[in-house]
């Protein structure tokens, strides 16, 4: 007899996602992904000045503020056909790169690693053995016995006072936790180091963006950072060199710690390459524009159908109709009035809440499709597309990581292993390394361009009478983000955000095809329905963040995850 579990809410950060699973014989047989809160934040934007939209959109989400600001200015620029000065592209690209690195590191270490790493078991590990293992895996200087011992003492302190803090809600001792105490201890020490490195790279965003968490330097038409190599109050050469130092520091951590940890976890949990593939249509967009028009990019993007890397079709620029015409959203299973599939420019947002209907409406999230099919977005989609496009750094890092996994696992692990729960983590680490290379390149391009005497950062937008339509897309840390705007006589007439978590967490679509979360859960093992760690592993591998896919509100309980079992 099938048993039904409800995991609610499932994010470790804000947002409210509910997952329902039917479990039979220790496997998930059916799954539903439901966004639990009504949003409608786009409605605030109607009738406003399009130049102000980014200020509001970056408040949609508590985690990805920068990305919504970038997508918004790009949407307005696209509607107006407005070019962006090179310096502005480079500065934006550097913020994108630094933010992406920050986000990937936090996601892996602080929001999902503890699905795989048992913190309580780390207390029993031997610092000496953990250090020896770490030194065998990488030249990272902080894998010393002394430093690892200090982390263990710290952890003992927390556990001793009963203050597990953010570790309070883990499934410690769960049978699906497979790492030895020594490996757990090594990973725990990197958890603490990652806390330090994430804040350093976030400084780059703060320096360029004038401030975080909400950057202030964007403008439709460029950025508001005046560049003057001699003035103290502007973006000076001295500040830019400090930015370079911060970028260099994080590089070692990504390559000698993050990539190595992911490879090790992948090798120890090799069975997880068999679970969680789900929807294998992959969509990503090109990013890091290298010209003022958005026709050349450092990082390619495109579409892969049915997991076949050979089917890759690139998206070539901000004006590519392949993307512009391909995106639709459906509401058959969403709590909105009607049953339609529409292009974002043609959408309307009229809520109609019902009870949770297994075969009817059950989510506030809409169902996006690309050319009529659900698509997975995120680092895995991005890495597979860049790999298919022949992007050299992506190939180097992907092949290198798979080689490390193969060595550790003692068996050949190929790129097909990436279509999985653990594969999403591997792809995120690869993307982080790729972003780092790109970030260095953007820094150099900016310096070179300033060196040529070009200080321009802004082109004045002009709003003609009549209607203009635009889309701004961005390959955000969680995947394809697109903002769709209709401008009428200089005012916003319609605004829709199609966000990464909508692509991945969307409910069944108009043709009843499940979304990526739902499809990826089917077939997952569940050892203990009361403690569905395996369900969390797969959902967390997408880096769920529903604060922007839907409106955010707190869960009523202190528990990070409440599980209800229904029969």
């Amino acid at each position: 007899m099938a048993k039904r579990i409800v995991v609610d809410p499932i994010t470790r950060i804000e947002g409210h996602l509910r997952i329902d699973c039917e479990i039979d014989n220790g496997r998930v047989t059916k799954a539903w992904s439901s966004g639990q809160m009504w949003r409608g934040i786009e409605l605030i934007l109607q009738d406003r000045d399009p130049r102000d939209a980014w200020v509001f959109t970056q408040r949609i989400c508590g985690v990805c503020t920068t990305v919504h600001a970038i997508a918004s200015v790009r949407a307005v620029e696209n509607a107006l056909g407005l070019e962006v000065p090179l310096n502005a592209q480079y500065i934006r690209n550097m913020m994108i790169g630094a933010h992406g690195i920050f986000d990937h590191i936090v996601h892996f270490y602080h929001l999902s690693a503890l699905d795989w790493v048992d913190i309580v078991s780390a207390l029993k590990g031997s610092p000496k053995a953990a250090a020896a293992l770490g030194q065998q895996l990488s030249p990272w200087p902080h894998n010393s016995e002394q430093e690892i011992k200090a982390v263990q003492e710290r952890l003992k302190g927390f556990v001793g006072t009963g203050q597990l803090g953010i570790f309070a809600s883990g499934y410690w001792g769960h049978p699906a936790m497979k790492l030895s105490p020594d490996v757990n201890l090594l990973a725990a020490s990197h958890y603490f180091q990652a806390l330090d490195y994430q804040r350093r790279i976030n400084k780059v965003v703060a320096i360029l963006g004038s401030k975080t968490p909400h950057i202030q330097n964007l403008a439709v038409g460029g950025v508001s950072n005046p560049i003057n190599p001699d003035s103290q109050s502007t973006l000076t050469i001295e500040r830019l060199y400090y930015v370079k130092t911060l970028i260099d520091e994080i590089g070692d951590f990504i390559k000698n710690v993050y990539m190595v940890d992911v490879a090790a976890i992948g090798a120890f949990y090799a069975d997880w390459t068999k679970y969680g593939a789900g929807v294998t249509n992959y969509l990503s967009v090109p990013d890091m524009p290298l010209d003022s028009k958005g026709t050349a990019f450092d990082l390619p993007g495109g579409y892969i159908a049915d997991g076949n890397v050979g089917s890759f079709k690139p998206i070539t620029g901000f004006n590519d109709d392949f993307f512009k015409q391909g995106v639709k959203e459906g509401i058959k299973h969403s709590w909105y009035k009607g049953d339609w599939d529409r292009h974002p420019w043609e959408e309307e947002t009229v809520p109609q809440h019902t009870e949770f209907q297994d075969n009817g409406k059950y989510s506030w999230v809409k169902s996006p499709t690309f050319n009529g099919k659900p698509a997975q977005v995120g680092p895995l989609a991005n890495v597979l597309c860049m790999y298919a496009a022949g992007h050299a750094p992506t190939k180097t890092y992907t092949d290198g990581l798979l080689q490390t996994v193969s060595t550790l696992a003692g068996a050949k692990v190929g790129i097909e292993a990436l279509h999985s729960t653990i594969g999403r983590h591997a792809a995120r680490a690869v993307r982080c390394a790729v972003l780092h290379d790109s970030l260095l390149g953007q820094w150099q391009s900016l310096m070179d361009n300033i060196g040529k005497g070009d200080y321009a950062t802004f082109n004045q937008p002009v709003f003609p009478k009549g209607e203009q339509r635009g889309v701004g897309f961005h390959e955000a840390p969680r995947g394809v983000l697109s903002h769709w705007i209709v401008i009428q006589d200089g005012k916003i007439k319609n605004y829709q955000c199609v966000v990464p978590s909508t692509w991945n967490a969307g409910p069944r679509n108009t043709k009843d095809a499940p979304g990526p979360y739902e499809a990826s859960l089917v077939g997952n093992p569940v050892a203990n329905p009361e403690k569905p760690l395996e369900v969390l592993r797969t959902v967390h591998s997408f880096d769920p963040c529903l604060a922007c896919a839907i409106h955010l509100l707190d869960p009523d309980s202190r528990e990070i995850v409440t599980v209800r079992t229904m029969t």
């Binding site: 950060i13 803090g165 806390l195 994430q198 976030n202 968490p213 909400h214 707190d554 309980s557």
Partner: protein
């Protein structure tokens, strides 16, 4: 004795009263000039991003919408003398982001020793930029309370004439 004080307003300004903490900080920035040992931060709905702002602070003032049985528009000011206990309580709609931030700060030994919560009980959490009348009044009350509390620490803000 030099104090180093962070006034951190958190909340989502797109959700009416939910953004009360941010509104308080905006008012403080607009109406007062403080000496350099006071830092005013609009933290939005962020979590770990704010860690860097806690470094070397002696005092942390958290201004936030809180869940309480008291009527909407009520103001609750209390010292969090035992910060770990704070983590266990459900007091803010950003409980996960903020409590995670403080827990991490505590692990990293950068939690300011003196933490005061300035809480405002919201009425309206619907999508919208306007706060309710009750909460607008509470925001004004908290602005003055923060200025007073800073003065008690020997830090005087001078009002900007507009």
């Amino acid at each position: 004795m030099s104090h180093n004080i962070l006034v951190l307003g958190v909340g989502n300004v797109l959700l009416a009263d939910e953004g009360a903490g941010v509104r308080v900080v905006e008012q403080l920035q607009r109406r007062y000039v403080f000496p350099p040992q006071v830092e005013l931060i609009d933290g939005g709905t962020m979590g770990l991003d704010l860690l860097g702002y806690l470094d070397d602070k002696t005092h942390l003032f958290i201004v936030d919408a809180i869940i309480s049985r008291k009527p909407p528009g009520s103001v609750v000011i209390e010292k969090l003398s035992d910060p770990p206990a704070y983590f266990r309580q459900k007091i803010s709609p950003h409980q996960i982001g903020l409590s995670e931030l403080l827990a991490v700060a505590s692990m990293q030994d950068c939690l300011p020793p003196d933490i005061t919560l300035f809480g405002i009980v919201p009425l309206d959490l619907a999508t919208g930029l306007e706060m309710s009348c009750e909460v607008s009044r509470a925001v004004e009350q908290v602005v003055l309370a923060v200025v007073k509390e800073l003065a008690l620490l020997g830090v005087e803000g001078s009002a900007v004439s507009c």
